[in-house]
């Protein structure tokens, strides 16, 4: 709630919900030299990721074999998958478009 001038009768009500999440940690540098790919479920993304995996390996980069993905392209990553991704120590690449 925001008060423009401190007068209650002139108060403007904030219409925008804010996230309630607690503190979280972001690792910006991978702990191991490995690329981990994540499929966002878009129609062509798995094909693109498989090709990416192949190209990176041809250049000598370690890429994890398993490509996990979202159950449903139009929805968010579920909590269980998110927790598994949070355990990854390599460089996580995700979000290939259509």
């Amino acid at each position: 709630m925001t008060e423009i001038d401190g007068a209650g009768r002139h108060e403007l009500v904030n219409p925008i919900p804010r996230p309630k999440s607690g503190p979280f940690t972001v690792r910006t540098v991978p702990e191991v030299e490995q690329v981990v790919l994540f499929d966002n479920g878009k129609p062509n993304s798995m094909a693109i990721l498989r090709r990416t995996q192949q190209l990176l390996r041809e250049r000598g980069i370690d890429v994890k074999e398993e490509i996990r993905g979202k159950e449903f392209a139009g929805g968010p990553v579920d909590d269980q998958t998110l927790a598994m991704l949070a355990q990854e120590r390599g460089l996580l690449l995700c979000g290939v478009h259509d």
Binding site: T2, E11, L12, V13, K20, P43, V77, H97
Partner: protein
Amino acid sequence: MSDYSRSVDRPGDRDVLADIEQCYESGWSDGLPVVPPYRGLVDEMRAAMGWPDGDEVVGSIEAQRLEITADHLAAAAVMSGCRPEYARVLRPLAELLVDPEFNLGGVEVTTGGVAVMVVVSGPVVAELGFEHQANAVGGANTRVNATIGRYAQMVRHFCGRGGGVLATHGTMGHPGRLSFLVAEHPDTAWGPFHTQLGLPAGASAVSIMAAEGPNSVNNHYGSTAEQILDTIADCLGHSGFTNYYWHFGATIVVVGPAHAETIAATFSRDEARRYLFEHTLRPTDHLAALGRMPPEPREKSKVEPGKQRSPFDHEEQLHFLESGAPGGRFSAIVPGWVGNYFVMGKVVEGA
């Protein structure tokens, strides 16, 4: 009718234009000027919507850890220009918008650029004076249509890009992202729209679907149901129709009164739905040759080379809505978002 001058805490000598600008500067806008959400107006709207406590959590978007309160939802109603007497529609509409099944976050972020299409049907259409004839599919220029339609988009925006917690990636978008409400005729040939969702025929209802923009269907000289439906099927079955690949989205066919009279003389609603389903087929291989199928289709999209393909997995994805003005022989189709499977509806209480 509510009288703001009697019943609520007025802004008094405040500079309302400055407050509108303040809303812009705070990001409290859908791009158009808003009614500033003064506490007195919001309290009155919230009471009309049936929430005594402004901090009551009405819904949440788990992935963003958002909790949406009664005050948020009532403030957006004030800001979009709604009157308290619209609350009997706004309350169930708000509950639908924040229902996790609707996936409001997905609607906001998708490259599909979809809007929240609001459908109002049953006796409430006449009771609140919704325009259901002239320009009924968009731009009806009546307050109740425009502001309730705007409300749905505003809630989406404030829970998404407008609130800074989600990006929006709509490649094209469409004007309905500002306001998109269609009211059905109080008297219909096939029964109220909401009966297709399992709601009682005698009830009033508000329904929502994540929707692409409407496409007009013109057939002035066809005199048979088949001619009209073939024309609608052709519009549904064009190769750029989004649903051809994923197959998940619902679609609403808005049938104008002249077309409805012609079709209903021959077909029941179920028969017309079946006819459309069967007449939107295209060769899968042709769609693939055009690039409408990815090289490695997902199993759930059920792509079968060599076979005919409908843009719908099953005919129940098609819904009919009777609306529009007499005079012209037009209908319209409104394709749904492929990320939602359905149209959702709730009964509107009270009178």
